[in-house]
């Protein structure tokens, strides 16, 4: 007796995006390359529906791509959150980062870019002590909970 072939697992997930909000990658796998390209155009707002609209788009100047800048000390925040526990990060490092960002954006708003750079450099230097303290708290707590 031959066993009935099971349905492909992905098919059950078609339409998942609509209900759960996650991108439905399985649906894309079933598409032909043309359909997939068209879908990407629609997603990125590049699709045009009519010939007139397509001509208008071709005639209009292409907008310059926007550069998304990360806030200062982004890397520091990522590393600190990885190194420290939440309490130590919130108590020692986060207020320092908030101060630095506030001063940085004030300087940027006033058009003082050199001063803004200096604020970031100084901020990285000043955060060493809170980071050290946070590390100490994290390690001692970890040891106490692990061995205590």
């Amino acid at each position: 007796m031959s066993e009935r072939p099971r349905k492909r697992k992905e098919k059950r997930y078609i339409g998942y995006e609509r209900t759960c909000g996650y991108p439905d990658r399985t649906l894309e796998k079933l598409m032909t390359p043309d359909v997939r390209r068209r879908l990407n155009e629609i997603r990125h707002g590049l699709a045009t529906t009519t010939d007139a609209a397509r001509e208008h788009q071709a005639a209009s100047p292409v907008p310059a791509p926007r550069k998304i800048e990360l806030p200062p000390a982004h890397l520091l925040v990522v590393v600190s959150k990885w190194l420290l526990n939440a309490e130590a990060y919130g108590r020692y490092v986060e207020p320092h980062v908030l101060d630095m960002r506030l001063e940085y954006f004030k300087a940027i708003a006033a058009g003082r870019r050199v001063q803004a750079r200096w604020i970031v450099v100084r901020g990285y230097w000043d955060v060493l002590a809170p980071l050290r303290r946070g590390l100490w708290i994290t390690i001692t707590r970890w040891l106490r909970e692990g061995y205590g």
Binding site: P95, D99, L102, A129
Partner: protein, 98 residues
């Protein structure tokens, strides 16, 4: 006593005592006339918070400023008692703004 504040922590508490509404970390640095540095202010405030002499208020938003609001530090009742006791036994607070 283990929880007794150090001289630098006493100075920070003294500064906070003068401002019942609380201060930001950078304001503590300004009020200390250079005695408390930017790098050490949150270490001192964090230690005081651990000891229960300072409480942290995290407002929902700062007026007129974007981004996450900064914490405000206030002296607790226990902190006030410790300061009063320190004054009674004659500890001095060098560097604090009068």
């Amino acid at each position: 006593m283990k929880d007794w504040p150090t001289a630098s922590e006493m100075l920070v508490m003294r500064i906070l005592q003068d401002e019942p509404r609380g201060l930001y970390g950078l304001q503590v640095v300004e009020h200390s006339d250079g005695v408390v540095k930017r790098g050490s202010v949150y270490v001192l405030l964090g230690r005081l918070e651990e000891k229960g002499f300072v409480r942290v208020i995290r407002p929902k938003a700062e007026t007129g400023l974007p981004g996450m609001p900064r914490p405000i530090y206030q002296l607790t009742g226990q902190g006030s008692k410790v300061l009063a006791a320190a004054e009674t036994i004659g500890l001095s607070f060098s560097g604090a703004r009068q």
